[in-house]
């Protein structure tokens, strides 16, 4: 296949996916639709982490910071102005601001120090939200309204449309980022940071920008999650929320946006399947983590490629 036809095939596949996602509620009941919506939200979140992890090689163990900020800002903002500004613009901006500040600190270091800093900073937000009475302390904020477009709050069908639209825009946006010259520089930094520095790229600025972009997208995912579930709690900031994104990316396979989305789908489906049978969900998560790291470092995408000999 030439690059051109491959691009066309990809665009076509993407369009088919969007149409299928839009048509899904017409064919399935309430519960499967809720599951699908959850998958969409977590896929956005996991893809934003994969931009850092799989492309730039910055493994953040504190991505929940931005998910939580997006969720809390959406909850606070939607109560005052239930429009797209409150639902997406303000949470995204808050995510950018927070990622800029945290990024200024964390991108000073790399490797294990980066891991420890991101993990610690995210837990600072958890500790704060857990104490702050204006954020509802440990109960969080409930009764988060859906945005109102054209007068009334979005009903179920319109909300589904809105979720699919935001997810599709996020995919297109992230795709353009990783395919841009900027994205290639990020991969270069991942491969060999010293060389990129020597060639003259301002490596730290590139990493900071990647961190901010990922922060914005994660904040959007958090905002959508608050609207989807109608509430946000300090759990959004907790280390487990970062860990879930890490696991989704590992499950799917790092360095492919589609892999992260696939990982999110596998994770949510597994969770809904398992939670009806056992309380030992965390144990299963831990074992899955260990097994994939040990035996399937390429994730599901890697395994599929090995099987079929596919190249993406």
């Amino acid at each position: 296949m030439t690059a051109r036809t491959r691009g066309r095939t990809r665009a076509l596949a993407f369009a088919v996916c969007v149409v299928a996602l839009l048509a899904f509620p017409a064919l399935f009941g309430r519960y499967p639709v809720r599951l699908l919506q959850e998958i969409l939200i977590w896929a956005i979140y996991a893809m934003s982490l994969d931009l850092l992890m799989g492309y730039a090689g910055m493994v953040s163990f504190g991505h929940s910071a931005f998910f939580g900020i997006g969720g809390y800002v959406a909850a606070l903002a939607l109560a005052r102005r239930p429009d797209l500004v409150g639902a997406l613009l303000l949470p995204g901006a808050a995510g950018a601001g927070a990622a800029l500040v945290l990024g200024l600190f964390s991108t000073r270091v790399s490797g294990v120090y980066f891991i420890m800093l991101t993990l610690a900073f995210s837990q600072m937000f958890h500790a704060y939200a857990f104490q702050a009475s204006w954020l509802g302390a440990e109960d969080g904020i409930t009764g988060v309204p859906r945005p109102a477009l054209g007068g009334a709050p979005l009903g179920d069908p319109a909300f589904h449309l809105y979720l699919v639209a935001v997810a599709a825009l996020a995919v297109i946006g992230l795709w353009r980022v990783v395919r841009s010259p900027f994205g290639h520089v990020l991969v270069g930094i991942h491969e060999n940071e010293v060389r990129m520095e020597a060639v003259g790229y301002p490596v730290r600025r590139y990493k900071l920008l990647a961190f901010v972009i990922a922060g914005v997208v994660a904040a959007l995912a958090g905002a959508l999650y608050a609207q989807f579930s109608g509430s946000i709690t300090p759990d959004a900031f907790f280390w487990t929320t970062s860990g879930e994104a890490l696991l989704m990316v590992i499950l799917g396979g790092t360095g492919t946006l589609g892999g992260a989305a696939l990982g999110a789908a596998a994770f949510i489906l597994l969770q809904s399947l398992v939670s009806t049978y056992t309380e030992r969900w965390m144990l299963l998560l831990g074992v899955t983590f260990v097994l994939f790291v040990l035996f399937a470092p390429g994730g599901l995408v890697g395994a599929l490629r090995g099987r079929v000999g596919l190249r993406a």
Binding site: R108, M116, L117, A127, G243, G286, F289, V293
Partner: protein
């Protein structure tokens, strides 16, 4: 202004907490120095130590036996983790090992919840240290004084072990350059296991020692992991001295923060960390990574 006895009492509480953080973070730092990985399951070793201590205490009623059983059992778990799970990953990027230890947090926390249930349990201090002591106008639980003395003794012992013994020289050689040490005929594979098990044992020991002050619950591992990580970021990874200085600093910052700035107490240690990272990205006593 707070009165002098208040300040003194807080300083002693901070010292006890700092010493506990040292017992924990020194294991993290030793393991990092040797294996070049951050063991995120280190807090889980602390938690396992507390629960093994609880079980021993329930069976024997003797705190000191619990304080021996916990490091032995947790050290054994550490050896298994290193041999069975981490060793196959040494040829891959260190990141994979860190991810694996992250997965272990979930695993250990849920296992403990399964076996012992999720509620908070208290570990009573040993009878000899169940009272309190008056130092001038300050009253302090005598167990805290024991913790301070014990922690300082362990710090001194570790220093002697690493700086003054043959085993210490082997460890230092491994930390400095594992490949070179192997070339000189040191069985680094065994040293790796031993150091990991030893670090894990220290984690387990700190869990049982902390028990009478902090009590035991399944998520205690992560609750303590974060301050321990802050300690090694502040002190510098791989440095015994850094781990000691960082622990005492964070112990005081946390204790005085809680007493004097209750509204923002949770964020103070993070601000200390942020300041250190700005001024010295690799910690007070750390060196840039290879």
């Amino acid at each position: 202004m707070p009165s002098l006895p208040d300040v003194l009492g807080q300083a002693l509480n901070g010292l006890a907490y700092g010493v506990l953080l040292f017992l924990l973070s020194v294991g993290l730092t030793l393991i990092f120095g040797m294996l070049d990985i951050v063991n995120l399951a280190h807090g889980s070793f602390y938690m396992l130590g507390a629960y093994v201590g609880l079980a021993t205490l329930a069976a024997t009623g003797n705190f000191w036996l619990a304080a021996i059983a916990a490091p032995v059992a947790v050290g054994g778990v550490g050896a298994l983790v290193e041999r069975g799970l981490l060793r196959p990953l040494y040829r891959r990027s260190p990141l994979d090992q860190v991810l694996l230890t992250f997965g272990l947090i979930y695993l250990f926390e849920d296992l403990v919840k399964w076996v012992w249930g999720g509620r908070i349990r208290s570990i009573p201090p040993p009878a000899a240290f169940s009272g309190s002591v008056r130092l001038g106008s300050v009253t302090i639980p005598s167990y805290r004084l024991f913790v301070i003395a014990f922690g300082l003794a362990v710090a001194a012992g570790l220093w002697l072990l690493i700086e003054r013994t043959r085993l210490g020289a082997v460890i230092r050689a491994g930390v400095y350059d594992a490949e070179m040490a192997a070339g000189l005929g040191i069985d680094t594979g065994r040293v790796f296991t031993a150091v990991f098990a030893f670090g894990a044992a220290l984690g387990g020991l700190s869990g049982v020692i902390a028990g009478p002050i902090q009590s035991a619950y399944p998520s205690m591992g992560v609750s303590i992991l974060i301050p321990a990580l802050i300690v090694v970021v502040v002190g510098g990874l791989g440095s015994l001295k850094g781990s000691f200085a960082g622990s005492l600093l964070i112990g005081q910052a946390e204790t005085f923060g809680k007493a004097w700035f209750p509204g923002v107490s949770m964020v103070i240690i993070y601000l200390v960390m942020a300041l250190v990272v700005l001024l010295r990205p690799h910690g007070l006593f750390g060196r840039p990574l290879k």
